[in-house]
């Protein structure tokens, strides 16, 4: 039986009087693959911002792990070290550095300045980088500068950096944006594989992509959960149909 890893309950966020997240509650188990869908502006990215500490909610709770720690008092870097990795909507890799350097930076290791200053490359670390590069299909690109990669390759590199952190929870924001159909297929495979051992939350509004993930779906609308269940279940929900077709 899978256990509960993350619990977001009763969370609300207001930006200049506009309620972007409204009494939102979602629970994620470990391992689990979860898709979050919803029209533009539904609050999907803001939901990830809250979990990763980028945005502080006005009210509500975000509880993490066996020890039920609150993430709200933690900084972004503490949350990341606690085991939450995040891929941004716009691919953000360090373009001036090589693929290898990008992965090495993300690799799970001690994060203190002095640990990093006196860090020595290990055979183990090199092997992990090779394995990750193979996983994301960038084995031949390790010495390339990340800025030269194609859009899809950057997306993968960012997913690779996520995996390198070895997080318990992966938050993946619109991974398939700007990808070709073939690339999308590879990306779903990658995510499904990753979700075998961890919790993975994927935000996407491409229904085909979500169908291939073949997992539980949460529909967000105006900052709260509109429906939850299998894709077929939610797509038959009249509210969901209205939100998607009424646009």
């Amino acid at each position: 039986m899978s256990k509960r890893l993350l619990e977001v309950s009763g969370v609300s966020v207001t930006f200049d009087g506009f309620r972007a997240i409204n009494n939102l509650s979602i629970a994620i188990a470990e391992p689990e693959l979860r898709a979050v869908i919803g029209p533009n502006g539904a609050g999907k990215t803001t939901f990830m911002d809250i979990i990763t500490g980028k945005t502080k909610p006005d009210e509500g709770k975000v509880i993490w792990g066996e020890k039920s720690i609150s993430l709200l008092g933690m900084s972004e870097s503490q949350i990341a070290r606690a085991g939450i990795g995040r891929k941004f909507q716009k691919p953000t890799v360090f373009e001036a550095q090589t693929v290898r350097e990008n992965l090495a930076m993300a690799l799970k290791n001690k994060r203190g300045p002095f640990d990093v200053l006196f860090y020595r490359k290990t055979a183990n670390g090199a092997a992990r980088i090779e394995a990750l590069a193979a996983e994301i299909g960038l084995s031949d690109q390790l010495t390339r500068v990340a800025g030269e990669l194609s859009h899809g390759q950057k997306q993968w590199l960012e997913i690779g950096m996520l995996l390198a952190q070895d997080p318990r929870l992966l938050l993946v924001d619109e991974p398939a944006a700007g990808m070709t159909p073939a690339e999308r297929e590879q990306t779903t495979d990658l995510l499904v594989r990753a979700a075998k051992t961890r919790a993975v939350v994927v935000v996407e509004h491409d229904m085909e992509f979500v169908r291939r993930l073949n997992c539980k779906v949460t529909v967000l609308h105006e900052g709260s959960v509109l429906a939850e269940g299998s894709l077929d279940h939610v797509t038959q929900n009249p509210d969901v149909i209205e939100v998607y077709l009424g646009r």
Binding site: T52, K54, S75, E76, S77, Q78, A80, R81, G85, R86, F88, T92, F94, E95, A96, Q97, E101, A104, M105, A106, R111, G112, P113, V116, L117, Y119, R120, T143, R144, V145, E148, L149, S150, H151, G152, Q153, M161, Q165, G178, M179, T180, A182, E183
Partner: protein, 405 residues
């Protein structure tokens, strides 16, 4: 480890080689140790230039690599100068006072000696008492320690306050300027305890050393060269490997680095503090060669010049900072020293002492706009030819996605 570090950082070896050859050449040409082809005052100028190169590489690390445009590093440089200057002045005055009191029939009491030194040093600001800040001035080891600790602590506290509240970009630059300005205004006051606008002087005379300035100048030149070499090694170490990777990543996208689990503020604080300490060392070597330090040296403009040197030399490459600092500071003393021939346009005569700053400002604008890589960027042409297989290739985009945008 050091071997592989040097092997993977060939430019460090090249730099150390060039620095050694330069040092050797100056030694051979100097008054004290060689054929006397260059004057002692020029040896001092060159030694001071090496110190400026040292603070320039510190600036490059903090700005070029880590993206923190500090406009306050000359404050740390000045503090280093004041720290060593206090001992130099105290010990030297003590010698003189001891000499004159020795002729008295009765041996002078410690109080009398102390008063006499105080009168000598603080007479110019109408005082003879030692301020608290001079408590350790009698001790060379403690003042040497202060060269590192005072800039380090100031940077640590200032940086902690600024970085913790996530002040970045222009606001941080303004804050560092404010710090420099505050320090300089404080030092200008007579009751700062550091002789107000008189500053500390006679620093070229080393207590207990009877050698001539010819000798002293080359000693300091050597010390400056060694310090620059060591500083270069230190910073090359910091900016290479994984640390360098993280620091550059912070410069390019600090938010992203946070989500990788790195505590960005600690890294900035580390870089800010270590560069401040090196700036302190550079200042401590500079001012005994200059002979005098006063609060004007710490004026905000000095720190801005520092940024200009690094920008002209090329940010994000240590040798670029060295090139920028050397070129601009030597040119600057040539132009402002009145040696540069005036240009007569017929209707107007360009006198360089007036126009040098305009020229410098223009060069800065031109470099920033058209050659963001600076002079150091010229070296890339050589490097790119050698590693051309690293350039964008056709494989950089995939056929399925169409032409790259």
């Amino acid at each position: 480890m050091t071997k592989s570090f040097l092997a993977t950082n060939r430019s460090v070896l090249v730099f150390l080689l060039v620095l050694s050859l330069f040092t050797l050449a100056v030694t051979v040409m100097a008054e004290a140790t060689g054929y006397g082809l260059i004057s002692t005052s020029f040896v001092k100028t060159l030694g001071k230039t090496l110190c400026l190169c040292l603070i320039a590489i510190a600036m490059d690390v903090v700005w070029g690599y880590c993206g923190i445009l500090s406009l306050g590093h000359f404050a740390f440089f000045g503090i280093g100068g004041y720290a060593i200057g206090m001992w130099l002045m105290y010990a030297r005055t003590e010698e003189i006072v001891a000499g004159s009191l020795a002729n008295q029939p009765l041996p002078a009491t410690p109080q009398e000696v102390s008063d006499a030194i105080g009168t000598q040093i603080f007479g110019v600001v109408g005082s003879s008492d030692f301020p608290l800040i001079w408590s350790f001035a009698h001790s060379l080891p403690l003042q040497l320690l202060a060269i590192l600790i005072v800039p380090g602590l100031l940077a640590l506290v200032f940086g902690w306050l600024a970085f913790r509240s996530r002040v970045t970009g222009v606001y941080l630059s303004i804050l560092t300027q404010a710090m420099t300005l505050a320090l300089s205004l404080y030092l200008f006051q007579n009751d700062s305890g550091l002789r107000g606008n008189n500053g500390l002087s006679g620093l070229q005379n080393i207590p207990g050393v009877s050698a001539s300035q010819d000798d002293v100048s080359i000693w300091f030149f050597w010390a400056s060269a060694v310090a620059l070499g060591l500083g270069y090694l230190l910073f090359a170490f910091v900016t290479s490997g994984k640390m360098g990777s993280v620091i550059r990543a912070i410069r390019d996208d600090e938010a992203r680095v946070r989500f990788l689990g790195y505590h960005v503020e600690s890294y900035k604080l580390f870089v800010f503090t270590i560069t401040a300490m090196v700036a302190g060392i550079a200042g401590a070597l500079y001012y005994p060669q200059a002979g005098i330090i006063n609060p004007a040296e710490i004026a905000p403009i000095a720190s801005i010049y520092l940024a200009v040197w690094v920008a002209i030399g090329g940010r994000g490459r240590l040798y670029g900072a060295v090139i920028g600092a050397t070129l601009v500071s030597l040119l600057s003393s040539w132009f402002t020293g009145g040696s540069a021939p005036a240009i007569n346009l017929g209707f107007y005569k360009i006198v360089w002492t007036d126009w040098w700053l305009v020229l410098l400002g223009l060069s800065f604008v031109v470099v920033t706009l058209f050659f963001p890589q600076g002079i150091g960027g010229l070296f890339d042409f050589v490097a790119v030819k050698r590693n051309s297989d690293y350039g964008p290739s056709e494989g950089a985009w995939r056929a399925e996605e169409g032409k790259p945008e």
